[in-house]
Symmetry: C2
Subunit: 309 residues, 2 copies
């Protein structure tokens, strides 16, 4: 029986009806005008109703992928940074509103599950999926099963500590990988460099306007030889490469699936990850490892959420 997959972002809720093979039968999208839990539940319900109607099928179960730290057993979104939420019982709220069985998972887990069954992970039993976009996240599939952790928050690669008491992360803690490598933080670090006024390259690339800084700006400035940009960029590349390589060593996946806007738009950073996995993962752990790009793009989370339902 087809299921409903929901991808809850920071500005839109998307809903899709997905069949057992992970094919999308219909899709619908609703803007999140307000970010209160009640308003967001209404927006999801609207997208869900439209998707179900368009597919003309009956649905009994719904999977939801949402950015943040989720206690899977209870369906509580403990920390939802995109929406500024803390401890929202989203699973229960949706169950009541929609009348479906609801399973709430981390957006990366949903994406990894979608890639496993309908994308870059097909045929594998053990995958490590790493996404670097505005944040950094990962999801682990071991023996064909999602590793959720005791409290449902496994996979938070962005929040491993790479510098004890280092740069403050969006999560509030110090020295997280994401504080150096996440897209928001690549932008923040580049703006800090731009503000010093020392970098002619950065000033030229952005015409001095901090609003024009993207992660690509940093990569370009580094490649053009700006010494400070290079330092920030190479540090980020090394930290990310080491973190991913070390997870390969510990988890020994068959596939390493890379995705997210920063890795897509910054080929130099992506290359550093590929080279870093070769250089720093243990030889035996990477025997037979296939490194591949996520295939399903924005739909991986929708499809995975539907399949997890």
């Amino acid at each position: 029986m087809p299921t409903l997959g929901i991808d809850l972002g920071g500005t839109f809720a998307r809903a899709a009806v997905v069949d057992e093979q992970g094919r999308i039968l219909s899709v619908s999208k609703t803007a999140l005008a307000e970010r209160s839990p009640t308003a967001v539940v209404e927006a999801i319900a609207q997208a869900a109703a439209a998707a179900v109607e368009a597919a003309s099928v009956s649905v009994e179960a719904c999977g939801v992928g949402a950015a943040g730290q989720i206690h899977g057993d209870t369906g509580v979104l403990a920390v939802g940074p995109n929406l500024g939420w803390r401890n929202v019982p989203l699973g229960e709220m949706l169950r009541t509103r929609l009348g479906y069985r609801v399973r709430l998972v981390n957006d990366l887990s949903a994406a990894a599950w979608g890639e496993l069954h309908a994308g870059a992970g097909r045929g594998a039993q053990d995958t490590l999926t790493v996404f670097v976009g505005s944040g950094v996240g990962s999801a682990i599939i071991a023996g064909g099963r999602l590793v959720s952790g005791a409290g449902g928050v496994a996979g938070e690669l962005g929040h491993i500590k790479v510098v004890p008491n280092g740069r403050r992360c969006g999560c509030g803690e110090l020295g997280c990988l994401e504080a150096y490598v996440g897209g928001h933080n690549l932008i923040a670090q580049t703006r800090e460099l731009l503000a010093t006024g020392h970098s002619a390259v950065l000033t030229e690339l952005t015409e001095g306007d901090p609003a024009r800084v993207t992660p690509v700006t940093l990569e370009q400035a580094a490649e053009e030889g700006d010494p400070e940009a290079r330092e920030v960029y190479e540090r980020a590349g090394l930290m990310l490469a080491l973190a991913v390589a070390n997870q390969v060593t510990v988890l020994n996946p068959a596939r390493l699936i890379l995705g997210g806007g920063v890795l897509t738009h910054c080929p130099g950073l992506r290359r550093r990850v590929l080279e870093g996995v070769q250089a720093y993962s243990s030889t035996t752990s990477r025997e037979g490892l296939l490194i591949t790009e996520a295939e399903l793009g924005d739909n991986s989370g929708l499809i995975g959420a539907g399949l997890l339902a």
Copy 2:
């Protein structure tokens, strides 16, 4: 039906008959006079026969825990550092010699499985077991299942890279955690300090004899304020604490089970790991985390191997 558990070390093979609850019914031990695969298989067969005879039961399956990197599907010991082995088809050799079904696993996996079912992990579904002895190893249990990895070599926490191109490890690679924190390497680093002749504290503790250095020597010298010993020791403590904390962040276990001679005999290092997990793991990942000592001592691997059979 009871099963046979084998613990293959560097100097002894131990065999035990284990019941379904993980209780040891009989145990036997044979010294490894020679380290050739054929001689070791004979020694194991001798220990196994003695254990089975003493228990007066019939056995059909045998689990073997061995130090090193094991390709689980094929039963091949790819790298066996204690025995100096490479690519030994130990599973098949034992199957032929003993006539039992044989399952070969990493010694840490066996120990973690024993602790899960009969020791410090009882009742948990998600555990991270970290042993620091002469080497550093870990084993991951997620959702009640052992995470083996695609090639059977998951858990190699000792071989994550903590210093790019750093100190050479026993595995041949550079900058591994074990090269700084494993017992053999704590001893090697302390001997290097002793050899400089700068440390009055180390010279006094060992009477100048490198053969008297143990990991405890380093902890004592650091605690007595020797600056160079303190630097090596604090570096090792921080590296280990960060590595363990980061695995807690990524895996979100219910229990962190610590064991191994170095953590048992160096309480200061153990304290640094406990404090480091508090300081450096992400807050949500350690909610509800119980940190505990391994309970079964030397028998965890025997019991776990038997239960995995």
